[in-house]
């Protein structure tokens, strides 16, 4: 009689595990790969292959509307990333460098609100709010979009910064004070450099999230303020050409680049 040993439950040993896993990956990646391939399609169709070409990249590149939308997207994303990561840094310093206080959880929820409220709700609220301001001031510039994007980027910037601060040994600040550093010098020389990777990660996440936003942008933008995603959405209403594929692929490349940098920065050293 062979000895029976109780094995711990392992999901990888379940029947069909490999099949489901492979199917899931196919679902995740086949559409993206297809899109990337068809962005090099020479024909006018998004479905029929007509040979390899950079034609649609050239067309997208030379399209003034695309160019303007790209610049607008980048201006908004960079501004939102800067504003959101600054606010998030302050919020993280305010919520972690202290003893636990009453209502701490409530404050966390307040800060992370944009993660929980449906985006369409925020979009409608902002539309109404900004409409009132537009009427009162007559200003219709990019500031509305920048503010809106900054607002919903704050929690994405806050989370990595807070994680970084929570993992930081408070004794280091004590040691700095012990070595004659004033509170500001301690912050400038010790705390800030140590949280910098968290801030950079937060800013990059914010940039990516802002770059890709459709719903809030669509509601808040004034006439002629298309960003890349809203431009593409607009294109879909007409004839879809592989130009959309080309722009999407370019966006994908940029996002992958930034997310790689994000992981490299947040990865623990040692």
């Amino acid at each position: 009689m062979s000895e029976r040993r109780a094995k711990p439950f392992s999901i990888t040993a379940m029947p069909g595990f490999a099949t489901i896993a492979i199917l899931a990956f196919v679902l995740l990646y086949v559409p993206i790969i297809t899109m990337v391939i068809y962005s090099f399609n020479a024909s006018n169709s998004v479905a029929l292959w007509g040979g390899f070409s950079f034609r649609w990249y050239a067309i997208a590149w030379e399209n003034d509307t695309v160019q303007e939308a790209t610049v607008r997207s980048l201006v908004i994303a960079v501004s939102a990333a800067l504003i959101a990561s600054t606010l998030a840094t302050l919020a993280a310093l305010g919520t972690t460098r202290r003893k636990k206080f009453k209502g701490q959880t409530f404050v966390y929820v307040m800060i992370n609100q944009p993660l929980m409220v449906p985006e369409i709700v925020t979009a409608v609220a902002l539309l109404i709010f900004f409409a009132a301001i537009k009427k009162a001031t007559g200003y219709t510039g990019l500031a509305y979009l920048i503010l809106a994007h900054s607002a919903f980027c704050v929690p994405f910037a806050y989370l990595p910064i807070r994680a970084r601060l929570e993992g930081m040994d408070l004794t280091l600040e004590r040691a700095a004070a012990d070595l004659y550093a004033t509170p500001f010098q301690t912050f400038r020389r010790i705390t800030l450099p140590l949280m910098a990777p968290g801030i950079a990660a937060g800013a990059m996440l914010s940039f990516v999230i802002s770059l890709d936003d459709v719903i809030i942008t669509e509601f808040v933008k004034s006439a002629g303020q298309d960003t890349l995603p809203t431009y593409m959405l607009g294109q879909l209403r007409r004839a879809v050409t592989p130009e959309v594929n080309a722009i999407s692929t370019a966006l994908l490349g940029l996002t992958v680049l930034l997310l790689t940098a994000f992981f490299l920065l947040t990865r623990k050293r040692g």
Binding site: R174, A176, A177
Partner: protein
Amino acid sequence: MTTDTAVEAVNAARHYGQGQYAVKALDDVSLSIRKGEFFTLLGPSGCGKTTLLRLIAGFETPTSGQILLSGKDITAIPPNRRRVNTVFQSYALFPHLSVARNIAFGLEMLGRPKSEIAPRVTDMLRLVQLDQMAERKPAMLSGGQQQRVALARALAPEPEVLLLDEPLSALDLKLRKEMQLELKRLQTETGITFVFVTHDQEEALTMSDRIGVMKAGKLQQVGGPREIYNGPVNRFVADFIGETNFLTGTAAGDTVRIATGETLAVPGAGQGPVTLAIRPEQIRIADDGPLTATLTQTVYFGTDTHCHLRLGDGTDLVARLQSPPSGDVGLSAGQTLRLAPVPGSVQVLEEG
């Protein structure tokens, strides 16, 4: 104002919480540490030794009482304006700065010119034998090396007092022994007052000029290692520093009649009920000894052999004999022995 005093605590107390639930981490401690001495605060965890260290460093303020540095009241002065540096238990090296930058940190914060900092850092690196490691980051060093960087960093600004918070506890035994000698050497070479916190009595005995033994927020005894070891004031100190046998009895002048009815000669024992302490190495086997005991067990420790003995009233004693070259003390369990304490080695203790 005495100038030979480095640090003074005057009725220093630190309570946590309020009213009847207050925890007295430090309970009215007065202590004076001399300039240039290696002073150790010794006690079990929670005895208040680290709290006292934090009060001196300025990380905490006393609930009442004062802290003086070279005679000046520094109770209300923040840590960055006290000429006191700390070696932390976790070392607390700045992970983003090189070894050299870590060591230079204090001097930079004091606003010293670069021309002064650079040679000083070089000197400190040499002092702790890390000349080759100047550009490394702390994470690339071993525990022992990190320890020495922490020391160099704290010594570089030439503080009036160096505080050491159980700095050796994370090291393995061999390295710990090496660092004990190293610390003593550094202290002698620099002449800086060291205040060392530990729960390790051996560490305290080997390094210190004086030791302050603490328990439950109170200072029990202050004195040199020999004084503390050979003349503990109470049962706690006797028990915490080294191994000790306790006997209870009734004193009558220069003799004490112990519970078994046997009488020991203890000059100046006083009158009434007393507790006696006898160190295991101060007990001899002697045919004319005043105590009769049964050997229950012998345990071989290499250089020593511990004899576990039981007196007539059931009190257990340990006698430590030097092992003979053969390694066998020639005693067997069940044997009845006569014992005699070495004259002058029996301590009379206050209860505590």
